[in-house]
């Protein structure tokens, strides 16, 4: 049995293994031990001369496997890898690595997996401490880590890529790596942490960690699986963990027992209103905010999508009039001319209304005039756009705008023209024919008058009746005085 020094890395081992293969020495004839540890079972004799000068074909998968497994801490690793190599090359088990259930292959693959895992953990758990700046202006950091396997060389490239701008060193019992001035160097391991005192950022890091710890999402087993306890002694945040775990139960319990807070009312400021205008149009339940000034409402209403009428209308026709008006007049919806001009009651019905108001002695300029529905609903009749009555859903959808106007103006007298306006504010039971005149609805205004809509007057074919109805209409309007 001969003793072979496995060397310090994969290249050394490969060299020795090649020599052994050439010497045709089977695995049970070889003892892999570092030189200087004299063994009773073997002699540290030089390898016998190669019997043949054949090169060996080794699947690349073996090289990858060996590179990883060789870093493992198990002292049997070299012997194991040589045994696999021997079987691959000399025993014509060319496909050995594909037989993943072979005991040797299983062992080697487990070793490789553990090494890779350790490298990953090293990436995660190395904590640097700043020890000042070099004369060159590059910051200098040191870290201490205690890996289970020899992964310093395997994990170093990650840190080099990540912290290329700084000078850093990672010390560990299994070897040290230094990145100084853009050069990477490896030195032998040290027994103790050379930098024992924490830097200023450590306390900040611990505070940060304590604050981002979420007690309601704690899964202790999972946490310890991902962050095994054996790394804790070198993690500055680890001392906080037991108390955080302890407190998490009570903290979660407190959170569950805390009574729900009332929703704060939506603040009334320009920024939010601007957002409202830009974002989700009313149709998802965001009604215009109460006590919004009329100017803002006028701008917002064009974006309303609460009902489909906006698609076929030219624009939304909001109410017009002084904000401190004593009298508010509500019609049904804008007509053809109103839709084109964007003003309420400027068409034929509007002109009739003006006349009637003047006759009744009411000054229209002091009144606020609006409609129950703000978009023109129409169907085409040749070139003409024929007015269509808005249905209940559309009236209901437009109601918040009307209510906002009502709240803003808070008129003393409210005139509702036509069945739609009346139904919108008083409910469907109101019939203009039956309940015409003053109506008791103090929640809307001190005086509420229900009457016909001027467009109804326009449509009466009989001249006689038309005049009668017109006079009745003017009488109703007179009720607004006094």
């Amino acid at each position: 049995m001969i003793q072979v020094d496995p060397g310090y890395n994969f290249a050394d081992w490969r060299e020795s293994a090649r020599g052994l293969l050439e010497a045709d020495l089977s695995p049970d004839q070889v003892l892999w031990e570092k030189a200087g540890q004299g063994s009773l079972f073997a002699e540290a004799a030089p390898l016998p001369a190669p019997k043949s000068a054949i090169t060996f074909q080794v699947p690349p998968a073996f090289v990858d496997l060996a590179r990883a497994a060789i870093c493992h801490a198990d002292l049997q690793r070299w012997a194991l890898l040589y045994r696999i190599l021997w079987r691959l090359v000399k025993c014509s088990e060319k496909h050995l690595l594909e037989i993943v259930s072979d005991p040797d292959v299983v062992r080697a693959r487990t070793m490789a997996k553990n090494v890779r895992r350790e490298i990953h953990k090293m990436h995660a758990f190395v904590r640097f401490r700043k020890i000042g700046e070099a004369e060159t202006g590059r910051e200098r950091y040191v870290a201490w880590f205690e890996p289970e396997h020899e992964v310093i060389a395997g994990a170093a490239p990650f840190f080099r890529d990540r912290f290329a701008n700084m000078d850093w060193s990672i010390f560990s019992p299994k070897g040290c790596v230094h990145w100084i001035g853009g050069e990477m160097r490896f030195t032998p391991g040290v027994a103790k942490n050379p930098c024992d005192s924490p830097d200023e950022l450590e306390e900040i890091w611990r505070t940060y960690y304590r604050n981002i710890f979420n007690p309601t999402r704690l899964k202790e087993k999972m946490m310890k699986l991902e962050m095994p306890r054996r790394y804790w002694k070198n993690l500055p945040e680890a001392t906080l963990i037991p108390e955080l775990i302890q407190a998490s139960r009570t903290r979660t319990q407190d959170m569950l027992e805390e009574p729900g807070r009332d929703l704060r009312p939506v603040p009334n400021n320009r920024y939010l209103r601007g957002l409202q205008e830009m974002s989700v149009p009313y149709g998802d339940g965001i009604a215009p905010v109460e006590k919004t000034p009329l100017a803002e409402l006028t701008r917002m209403v064009d974006a309303c999508r609460a009902c489909p009428l906006w698609e076929r209308a030219t624009c939304a026709v909001f109410g017009k009039g002084p904000e401190n008006a004593r009298l508010m007049i509500v019609g049904e919806q804008p007509g053809d001319r109103e839709d084109l001009l964007g003003q309420p009651f400027v068409g034929p019905a509007g002109q009739l209304l003006d006349r009637a108001l003047a006759e009744a002695g009411v000054d229209r300029s002091t009144a606020y005039v609006t409609n129950a529905v703000k978009h023109f609903k129409w169907e085409a009749r040749g070139k003409l756009r024929l007015h269509k009555n808005p249905d209940r859903i559309e009236v209901e959808a437009c109601k918040p705008w009307l209510l906002a106007e009502l709240n803003s103006i808070a008129p003393a007298v409210l005139i509702l023209l036509g069945g739609t306006a009346a139904a919108s504010l008083l409910g469907p039971k109101v019939k203009v024919t039956r309940d015409r005149g003053l109506i008791d609805a103090p929640h809307l205004a001190a005086k509420v008058i229900v009457t016909v809509h001027p467009s109804f007057l326009l449509r009466i074919p009989d001249e006689e009746r038309k005049r009668e109805e017109y006079l009745r209409f003017v009488n109703d309007l007179r009720l607004a005085l006094g």
């Binding site: 496909h95 594909e98 037989i99 993943v100 259930s101 072979d102 299983v106 139960r249 979660t252």
Partner: protein, 124 residues
């Protein structure tokens, strides 16, 4: 269904329109279709092999790799971390053939269904 190629009618046949509450759908299918078993791990096609209760897609792919070069034995299955208790009635390996009474009979379901677990009353 995506990985094992099950059809809806296989998982929920017309005479059993609800999933069994004690066992997983794959095992339920296997118990309903005992005529398919036992399968030979050395020769069965992949689509049939994935239907064996206890063999998942990953392990079946490993077995396909292994069986090209060697005979699959129970020890291989153990090293692949396969539950032998689940697999043995349904699979034939180089060193195992399920006993004739194993696959038949109603005791199979009782043996394979997981034990009912007492839940905690005060779990958070």
């Amino acid at each position: 269904m995506r990985h094992y190629g099950f059809d809806v009618g296989e998982i929920l046949p017309s005479d059993a329109p609800n999933l069994d509450l004690r066992i997983d759908p794959k095992l339920a299918w296997a118990l309903r279709n005992r005529q398919e078993f036992p399968m030979n791990v050395q020769t069965a096609p992949r689509a049939r092999l994935v239907r064996v209760p206890g063999l998942g897609v990953r392990n079946v792919d490993r077995l396909l790799q292994i069986r090209r070069h060697t005979f699959v034995r129970l020890a291989d299955l153990t090293r692949l971390r396969v539950s032998l208790k689940k697999v043995m009635p349904f699979l034939i390996t180089a060193d195992h053939f399920p006993a004739s009474g194993l696959l038949d009979g109603d005791r199979l379901l009782a043996r394979l269904a997981p034990r009912p677990q007492q839940m905690e009353l005060f779990a958070l």
